[in-house]
Symmetry: C2
Subunit: 301 residues, 2 copies
């Protein structure tokens, strides 16, 4: 694997778009300034923590490494524009086939959403495989939706089924960028985040940052098909993590409009925002005490 | 090391600035759009490749991980605005003291240049220590300076002494952001890059991308003090790597102005741009055949 081969391969494989003035070729990428707020997120995925390379294969890891970041951009209600990829590659994997498979997995997803891959840093070492992807995006003209805007009286929604993502969903999920745009174009959302650590934990983040609490309806929380006969399905749905669905709040008036619009059948009302600190189940008003998922105590900021 | 402790520590340690609307607190950072072109770069540093943690200590690694990216922004003639930090942390290092030392080393440099640290992703694993930093910046009002703009007849300059950086310079260097701004404010540069892989290799990149060649003056290439009695000093200066000085070209007329201005005494004329493909020594017109430094065949795009 020569350096010139690698640069040529990346130039061939990596898509560009109209946000890019200069991509992989210089000390930095050069981009047109965004019209609305610029969004930036970075996530590192590591062998044995976020994937098992021998099971997943390089293409799926390439897909996931980009997808988790696109999910963060979707969570702000934004549009993703470009990605920057840093690889820590074990010397045993430093072959052309591995690199091509990895980048093909990532590029297929990038092309689906017209995202440029505009920077790469490929390094060999004696450690395991790790990949960092940084994504730049642009907020919707209505502005970025934060975790901190949930208000007492709002309704609480998720964009799809939860739990059991470890079987395959955590590797092959489609980030909810299109759904986020449709929601932003049609409704005024008060808060949003993506569910990466499980609803039990992530909902606490919305509540804490908004200074509110929530009532959760255990009857309506949508379960992934593979959990339907699992006696512990609800706990899986709240605690498994890596659902990468969006969790959002909006006023009751907005929620009434949403319920009547068949384009939003993918959204499920799972409860409401109340005053207080602890999250409760809506049926018996008992506290929801589950904690959600931690990748061995990781932290995203 | 709890997650809440970590978020609080990062919020306390990480500087902000006027480019940041929302930093470490949500799914993405929210930034004001840049006025001129946006610049983006990402570099991953890894144990045993870019540093030996036991020798360097966490603060020096924090400094270097940011500094190498600032050097890339300087190389475009730009201003650095904000940094995003992803850590792959061995479980044995997951203690508060290590994290604080690392971030203090990075924050000290960030504050020096008024750069925000606006995002973090901290992950534990069973591998060695690695850190990726992404930096966003803004081009100078004159535009970003590329590698590809060198023209036949231009003069070739470097901003400081080269070689022998392994002793300490590669860990504690000050990225040339101030020097880049002073140059941009006062001169029209035709091309620029930062010297990370050694002048011998990096100058080839300028030449190849500009479709030109260079004459190098072996008498004027500035040597680091520690090389002064080294019989092989010139080869070290061209091949050692990690100098993180800027190499730039400008027209002869601009170079004449620069030579007369005492504020630019840090700049040294080391040759000129000619037609052709191979780089030659200016005294005997023999080809310069040295190859420069590779971190075990890494590649930056």
């Amino acid at each position: 694997m020569s350096e010139l081969w690698l640069i040529d391969a990346l130039k061939t494989l990596c898509p560009s778009n109209s946000s890019i003035i200069l991509g992989i070729d210089d000390d930095t990428a050069i981009l047109r300034p965004t019209q609305y707020e610029t969004l930036v997120c970075a996530d590192m995925l590591m062998e044995g923590v976020h994937f098992i390379l021998a099971d997943a294969g390089p293409a799926a890891v390439g897909h996931k490494a980009l997808a988790v970041n696109l999910s963060d951009i979707a969570a702000m209600g934004g549009k993703a524009l470009s990605a920057y990829v840093s690889l820590a590659l074990p010397r045993s994997l430093a072959n052309e086939e591995f690199i091509l498979d990895f980048y093909r997995g990532m590029s297929t997803l990038a092309q689906d959403f017209d995202i440029a891959i505009a920077g790469g840093d490929t390094n060999l070492w004696d450690g395991p495989f790790a990949v960092n992807v940084t994504v730049l995006g642009e907020a919707h003209e209505k502005g970025a939706i934060r975790r901190s805007g949930a208000k007492v009286g709002d309704q609480l929604y998720v964009t799809g089924p939860l739990g059991g993502s470890i079987a395959s969903h955590h590797l092959n999920f489609r980030p909810r960028l299109d759904e986020a745009k449709l929601l932003m174009d049609n409704f005024d959302l008060s808060s949003m985040m993506d569910l990466s650590d499980g609803l039990a934990k992530d909902l606490r983040s919305i509540c804490m940052q908004s200074g509110v609490s929530a009532l959760l309806d255990r009857q309506t929380i949508p379960l992934r098909d593979t959990l339907k006969n699992n006696p512990d399905a609800l706990r899986h749905a709240l605690c498994d993590g890596e659902d990468f669905e969006l969790c959002f709040t909006l006023s009751r008036a907005e929620a009434e409009r949403l319920k009547k619009d068949p384009r939003f059948a993918f959204c499920t009302d799972i409860g409401g925002i109340i005053e207080g600190k602890d999250i409760f189940w809506s049926d018996d008003r008992s506290p929801m005490l589950w904690q959600g998922f931690e990748h061995g105590k990781n932290q995203k900021g």
